[in-house]
Every structure is written in C-alpha cells, then in structure tokens.
C-alpha cells in the first residue's frame, strides 16, 4: 500500500482485516511521518516508538500508564502517571496502541496552543498560523496524518475549535457519555474526552469504543454509545437512503451565531454548508438562543472557579515544581476563580454565572423543541497568525463564543470540515440534544459523504 497514513480509521481497519496492510507497516509509516514532521509541527511532546497496534495520539493530559504526562506545563515536567485513564484501557482493549502524547495549551487553557510551556504546535495548513486549542497537537497530528486518530478534551471548545482550524473531524460527546477518569481536570463540570478523526465514521466508531459508565466517573452513567442498527452502515457511501434520512431532520440555525464578530468569508462557507443540508432534504428552521451573549462571561467564572480548585494540588510539595512555574494563563484563571469564589463575591459571580448557565440550558431546551440539530460556525474566524491574540486574553476568549454555550449545556457537538476561507479550513458545528450523538453524527456523516472536504489534505512535502 502506498499512502498508508492518509487512510481513515475505518479504512485502516479494513486494510488490516483484508491483510492488505500489516501492523508493522502501519506503525512504521506513522512513525516515519511523525519523525519527519514533528520538528516543524511540534504536535507531539512525547513519541512512543514501540506502538505495535493501531497508532493513536493522546492529548497530554490524559493518563497513559508509564508514559510521561506534562499537561503542557512545566509543573508536571517529568511526571509519569501510575495508572491508565478509563478511555486508555478501553482503547487498548480494541487493539489500539499509543504512538505519543500531544501538545496542548497548559492544562487545556487556551484557544491557540500558544499557552503550552513546550512551544506551540503549528497549523499544518500554514505553519505561521495557530492550530487552535487546547487540543492543538491532537488536531495537528490527525490533520498531518501523524496518527490514525487522536483523543482530545473539550471544556469550552477544545476539541471542536482546533478540529475546525485544522480541517479535521472533532466530536465533543455529551457530558456524562465518556468517563473522565484519568484526564487531568480543568473544569470538572464541563470537561469531556472525545475523538479527533479523519472522518465522521471514525468519530462514531471511536465514540463506541470509549463511551459508557463504569469508569469511576460518578457523572458518567450512560450506556456505551452504540449506533442504532437501523441506521448502521448506510452512511459509508453516498446513497439515496441518506436523502431520506435527512428529510426527517430539522436543522436549526441560531441567528445569534451569525452576528458581530463572525468573519464574512467564514459566514459564506457556513451558509453554503447549511444550504447543502437543505438541498439534501433537511428542513432548515430559524431558532433563537437569546442568552448566547452572556455565555462567555458565565463560562469564564464557572470554569475558572473549578480550575482554582483543580490546580490547587500543584502546591510544590508532591509534584516537584513550585507554583511560579505556572504559565500566565493558568495563573490568570487560578486568580479569577479564587476571586469568584471568595466570600463576599461568591453570589455576585459564581452564583450568578450558575444562573446564567441554567438560562442558556433553557435556551437550548426551547430551541430543540423546534429542531433536531443546531448548526453554525465552530469558530468566528479561520486560524490566525501565531502571536496574533496572545497578548489580548479577552479577544482570545471570544474566539470560543460559539462552542462555549454547548459546553455549558453539556450537549454533544461535532466539527465537520465544510470548506475554506482565505485558504484555511472552516468547520461546521453540529450541536445535538443531550445524549443524542446519533443524530449529530448522522447529519455530519451524510454531509461529509456528499462533499469532498475530508479528502483535502495540507501539503506537507515542502
């Protein structure tokens, strides 16, 4: 086989099954590519040369036993987890091995990858651009064919946004669908582990592998995600059945996701994608999410409050490094959160933010009475230049304005490649009802199959 590393997970599994490809060849091809590309892309912080099964990249805040884990921070330099995260055990039981740990914004805090203490990963479509964040290395690894797929984590958009900016598929499952056990917590009430893949079919399969309760996460009691038998397999190719499926789907479009701040080129690409869904038979309806404008503010209070507790254990006593080793963004959020929870400020900040969160949830409840999925942009812009926003945290925070509301609500969200603006990839965000990944993936997969965006690859030869 010639182009081993461009195969999707589904295709790789088929090739292995048909003996067109051996695991040795597979791993050799990926390792060579990692070695060739990583010096310029900085996607991996650790490379495991002994990966013998299907080589998968893991965001470096998910614990893999005996493999170093930095969380993108100096604080955890040289830390080696003594146990596997639940998702790691589950993947291992599916014949997956781990080819490396991927770069990220420190403790998953950032939207550009630039908060990594180990230098930012680069966008394979243009090395002077950010890859997005915080699962930057995972998105880059998949976009540049350095892994069959990758795991990321999404708290406010950290899977969807880098997937969008790098032109790959990223799925944030419903909160409670996948066990968080073993992933360094950023904001415990928001964090979810999810796949970054080369196709929607791959994301569907990986979700089946990693989902379900019983993994020591008390908020994860869901059954493992299993694609319904009646819909299974009908998406693998463009077929008349796809049209029939979409005809039963109502696609909601919130006007709040097309307002000020949305790049006009990106808007054009997204509008085209929505039109395509309409052409495929879906009914397009307008929905309202009136509290969207308060989402970022509420998120930065709730998230930072949880961060301030979750990072308190790095006190310099047991993990070797002193607190002065935290990067600026980590310090900023620890202080914001500590303040928001302080006596005298708690009600004005934390309690109020929690109320806003409830209102945003209600927005979605009402909207989903009118539609099955909600679509819009993942990011208001395409990937920007490295250094472009790093000194302006507020602008950086606003780049997650379209992903944060879904995070606060705990619903599933998918980013599917849907075109290019200024030569950089654009992702379509598909949000679904809580625990209804099925419909989200169905819409994504039908769209993907009638377009050829997923076959577009960045030119990495030069």
């Amino acid at each position: 086989m010639t182009d081993i590393t461009s195969l999707t997970l589904t295709q790789t599994l088929a090739a292995l099954k048909d003996k067109k490809l051996s695991k040795e060849e597979l791993n050799k091809a990926y390792l060579e590519r990692i070695k060739k590309l990583n010096p310029s892309l900085n996607a991996f912080l650790f490379v495991n040369e002994d990966s013998g099964e299907i080589p998968v990249a893991i965001k470096d805040l998910i614990s893999v036993k005996d493999m170093p884990m930095t969380c993108g921070s100096k604080i955890l330099e040289n830390y080696i987890p003594p146990y596997n995260a639940t998702v790691i055990d589950r993947l291992a039981s599916q014949g997956v091995s781990f080819c490396g740990k991927t770069n990220l914004d420190e403790f998953a805090m950032g939207s550009s990858g630039e908060n990594s203490a180990y230098g930012p990963a680069k966008n394979p479509w243009n090395l002077v651009k950010v890859p997005g964040g915080s699962s930057s290395g995972s998105a880059v690894a998949v976009a540049a064919d350095m892994a069959v797929f990758a795991l990321g984590t999404d708290t406010g958009g950290s899977i969807r946004q880098p997937a969008s900016l790098c032109g790959v598929v990223g799925l944030k499952p419903s909160y409670g669908r996948v066990s968080r056990y073993g992933a360094q917590a950023m904001a415990s009430s928001l964090d979810q582990i999810g796949p970054i893949t080369k196709s929607v079919a791959d994301a569907r399969l990986v979700l089946e592998w990693i989902s379900g309760g019983g993994g020591h996460d008390s908020n994860c009691h869901a059954k493992p995600f299993v694609t319904l038998s009646e819909t299974k397999g009908i998406y693998s190719s463009a077929s008349p059945q796809n049209d029939r499926m979409l005809k039963e789907i109502k696609v909601g479009v919130p006007k709040e996701y097309f307002g000020k701040g949305l790049d006009s080129e990106v808007e054009k690409v997204i509008r085209d994608a929505i039109k395509k869904l309409g052409d495929l038979g879906a009914e397009i309806v307008e929905v309202a999410l009136p509290h969207t404008e308060y989402a970022v503010a509420a998120y930065y209070i709730i998230m930072a409050s949880e961060v301030s507790a979750n990072l308190a254990r790095y006190d310099g006593i047991r993990f070797g490094k002193n607190r002065d080793q935290f990067g600026d963004e980590a310090k900023r959020r620890i202080m914001l959160g500590t303040f928001s929870l302080s006596s005298g400020y708690y009600d004005a900040y934390f309690t109020k933010a929690a109320r806003v969160r409830t209102l945003i949830k209600k927005d979605f409840d009402i909207a989903f009475e009118k539609c099955d999925v909600i679509v819009g942009p993942v990011s208001p812009t395409v990937a920007w230049n490295l250094g472009g926003k790093i000194n302006d945290p507020l602008t950086m925070y606003l780049s997650d304005a379209y992903t944060i509301p879904g995070s606060l609500t705990g619903i599933p969200g998918l980013s599917v490649p849907c075109g290019f603006a200024d030569g950089m990839p654009v992702g379509l965000q598909i949000l679904g009802k809580h625990m209804d990944e099925e419909t989200v993936l169905n819409v994504g997969e039908i769209y993907e199959n009638v377009t050829d965006w997923k076959d577009k690859k960045p030119n990495m030869s030069s």
């Binding site: 805040l61 003594p82 008390s218 949880e306 507790a309 006593i317």
Partner: protein, 443 residues
C-alpha cells in the same frame, strides 16, 4: 459558676466511620498502625485525573447517626469542595458538605453534674473525608496518606451548652451512640473521635450571642476538654472583667501547664471558598423509603435502653449506667438475667455481682456467671484465685505431706485436701481444689 456571666458553648464532633473502604475510593479504611502510604490509590493521593466515587456504606452510616440523633434527612443533599492549603490535604480541597448536609435539625438530651437535663439542638450531621497525617521528624515532615479519604462525619450543635459537665455528658453519649450503632470505634486517643468546642461567655440576662467565640481544638480526651473549657471560662471572664475585649481565635490545651494557648487568631481565619463538588452528582435520597429502612435497622439506642432497664429490671441509675454502658455489656447482662431466672437469681443481684466483682465479660459467659452467683449464695468458694491462695498456704504448712505425695503416696493428697477443707470451713469446691493441687504439685 460566676454570678455575673453565663457560658455559651457549641460543640463540633468529628467521627471516623469504620467502613471497609474509604469515602471516595475503594482503598481499605482500616489504616491505623499500618505501614505509611500503603492504603493509597490515585484518588486518595490526588494524582492528576483521579475522580471521587461515593461509598454508599458511609452514606448509610452517616444517616444512621443522623437518625439516632433525631435529625431529619435532607431529600436533596450534595457535596461541596472546601478549599484550603495544608500539606496533608492531597487535592488542595476537602470534599465536605455546607449548604445541604445529609442530616439536619436533630437533638440530644444531656445532663449536668447535678443531674438536671436539657436539650441540645443539633444543627447538622454531615459527611466528609479525612486528611492525611503529618509526622514531624527533626526538621523534616513526613506525610502518610493512609488516612486520606477515610469517611468522616461531622456533628455540629447549636450553642446550647452552658457548662463543661454538659459537654462531657454530650461527648460520652455520642461516643456511646456511635458504638451502639457500630459505625465507629470512637476512640479519642486514636483520633477516631475528635472534639472542638466553641466557648464564649456573656452577662447573665443577655439574649444575643457574644460577638466572639474561642475555638478549642486538638484536644484528645474528654477530661482535657472539660479542663480546657473550665480554664477558658475563667480566662474569658478575667479578660472581660479587666474591661478588655475578646476576639475570635483558636486555642489548644497545654496539659503540663494546665492552660489554653493561642493557635490562630481571627486575622488568619480561612476563606474556604466552598462550591458544589462538580465531580459528584447530587444525592437524591428517597427519604421515606430509605429512612424507614434505616430506622428499622437501628439498634435500641442508649437512651431507650436506659429507660427499659429501669422499667424492666428495676435497676437504679448507677446500675443502669454500668449495665447499659456498652451494647456488649447490655447483651451480657440481659442474657445472664435470663439464665438467672432459672435459678431464681434476681436481675439486681446479677447487676450487683457484675459491678462488685468487676466482672470482665470477655473472660466469662453468662451461664458461668450465674453459677458463680449461685455458689456464692450457698457459700461455696469457687473463685480460683481465692482457692489458690488457700492451697498455697496449706502446702507451705504441710511440707511432709507434699514430700510424701511426690514420693508416690497418693494418700498424702487426701491429707492436703483435708487441710484445705478445714481452713475453708468446708466451703471449698472439692473438684476445683483437686484441679489446683494437681497443677501446683506436678509443676
């Protein structure tokens, strides 16, 4: 008690539950005296990515305590994070409860030294987790996380105590209840049970609470706590009498100097920044069903037992205090009374015998006890120690008979036994005398 001032005390009790495993992981909770850091896992060590998962047995035991203290169960209860820094706190926060504790609004009756009873209102009985343990060796500090995450229940009263005697009675009653319920060993010295007293004084007649309170902490015996409270009352009155003001502070007890000492002043007070624990779902308790189930499983509690022993056995207060002291003692006593009824031994006699002879219930069974009582009634001496004493005297006085016996003259034994009977005026139990003699002579 000073004539001008009245003491106001509220009590916080921490008790470690004797569950098999820890509160939020499945490490063994039986940590006492074990090799440091052997009862640990990613959860109780606060390793990155580890998450808490609730121990149901602990929740049930916490609710049992709540029920025993006449609390109502909160139908919706949740855990919160209490944020503070201390090297023995693995996660940098303790999982505890503030806003919605498992049990609220209970009460317990206490007595003062003159036997006057009053009701102490219990504000809450909530569930939390213990911390690790620090050991200071020279200039170094060692951390043992075996205790980290062991289930801890906190019981907080309203400021309803007015004397140290009431506090002591309350603490003893709680300890007894924990042991009756079988939820904790409640050993003060081992730290299973810990007391904190919030002490202040106010002029008699003043209704509102004093504008300060002194927290007495880290005191590991009832006696020391009582002494510390007594000292503190005197100190506070002395300070107020001098026209000075008292402020919120934490004080410890120096047993050598017999005085309290400042540990932390108000300025150093923590802001714990409590917020709902996002890693754990809300506890939705089907109160009616679970409460009834747990109530049915509750043993007879000390107060009920005391009343019944009075009604049923006609014991006096002192006798009841001894007989109902522990569940084990009460069971032994009742069993002995049952056996005793066959031999016409009255329950009061049983109680008196146990008390006067300082009977250790682990060394004797109820049947034997009744036999001893019957023998005592008939004047027979069956107490081994007493018989041994007599036998030794006789042996010393009859060296010839002993030599004869050792030379093989079996008859000599009869001579010795005869002497023993003579000395005890015929009241020695012959079978026992023979046994003892054989033992002594053959050694």
């Amino acid at each position: 008690m000073n004539k001008v001032y009245e003491t106001v005390i509220g009590i916080e009790v921490h008790v470690e539950l004797n569950t098999k495993t820890k509160m939020f992981c499945r490490c063994s909770a039986d940590y006492f005296g074990k090799k440091p850091n052997t009862h640990t896992c990613p959860v109780c060590l606060g390793i990155p990515g580890a998450l808490p998962y609730i121990n149901e047995e602990a929740i049930k035991k916490c609710m049992r305590i709540g029920l025993a203290l006449n609390c109502s169960v909160n139908e919706q209860s949740y855990f919160e994070r209490k944020n503070y820094f201390y090297p023995d706190l693995a996660k940098g926060y303790q999982i505890s409860q503030l806003v919605k504790p498992l049990n609220i609004n209970g009460q317990l009756e206490v007595e003062d030294e003159s036997g006057v009873t009053s009701i102490i209102r219990i504000n809450r009985v909530h569930q939390e987790e213990d911390t690790g343990k620090l050991t200071h060796v020279g200039s170094e500090t060692l951390i043992d996380f075996n205790r980290s995450g062991v289930p801890l229940v906190e019981i907080v009263t309203e400021p309803d105590f007015h004397s140290s005697a009431q506090v002591k009675d309350y603490a003893k009653k709680l300890q007894q209840i924990f042991r009756y319920l079988g939820v904790s060993n409640a050993d003060m010295e081992r730290g299973d049970m810990r007391l904190e007293a919030n002490v202040s004084v106010r002029p008699v007649g003043q209704k509102e609470l004093p504008p300060y309170r002194v927290e007495l902490k880290n005191i590991n015996s009832f006696r020391f706590m009582q002494a510390a409270i007594e000292y503190e009352i005197k100190r506070q009155i002395w300070v107020l009498e001098r026209g000075e003001t008292l402020t919120q502070e934490t004080r410890g007890w120096n047993e050598t100097k017999k005085e309290t000492y400042l540990q932390r002043s108000k300025e150093e007070a923590h802001d714990y920044r409590y917020f709902p624990e996002p890693d754990l779902p809300e506890l939705k308790i089907d109160t009616l069903q679970l409460r009834e189930l747990l109530r049915k499983q509750l043993p007879e509690l000390p107060a009920q037992k005391v009343k019944r022993f009075f009604d049923e056995y006609g014991l006096n207060k002192a006798q009841i205090a001894m007989m109902a002291d522990s569940k084990e003692m009460a069971e032994f006593f009742e069993e002995a009374v049952k056996v005793g009824s066959k031999y016409k031994v009255e329950s009061i006699k049983v109680a008196n015998f146990i008390i006067n002879k300082k009977v250790n219930i682990e060394d004797i069974n109820p049947e034997q006890l009744i036999k001893d009582i019957v023998n005592q009634n008939t004047g027979m001496i069956s107490d081994e120690k007493e018989l041994e004493k007599v036998v030794k005297e006789v042996i010393d006085e009859n060296s010839k008979a002993v030599e004869d016996f050792k030379a093989g003259k079996e008859v000599a034994l009869q001579v010795i036994i005869g002497s023993v009977m003579k000395k005890t005026k015929g009241k020695a139990e012959i079978k026992k005398v023979k046994e003892i003699l054989e033992g002594v002579l053959k050694s």
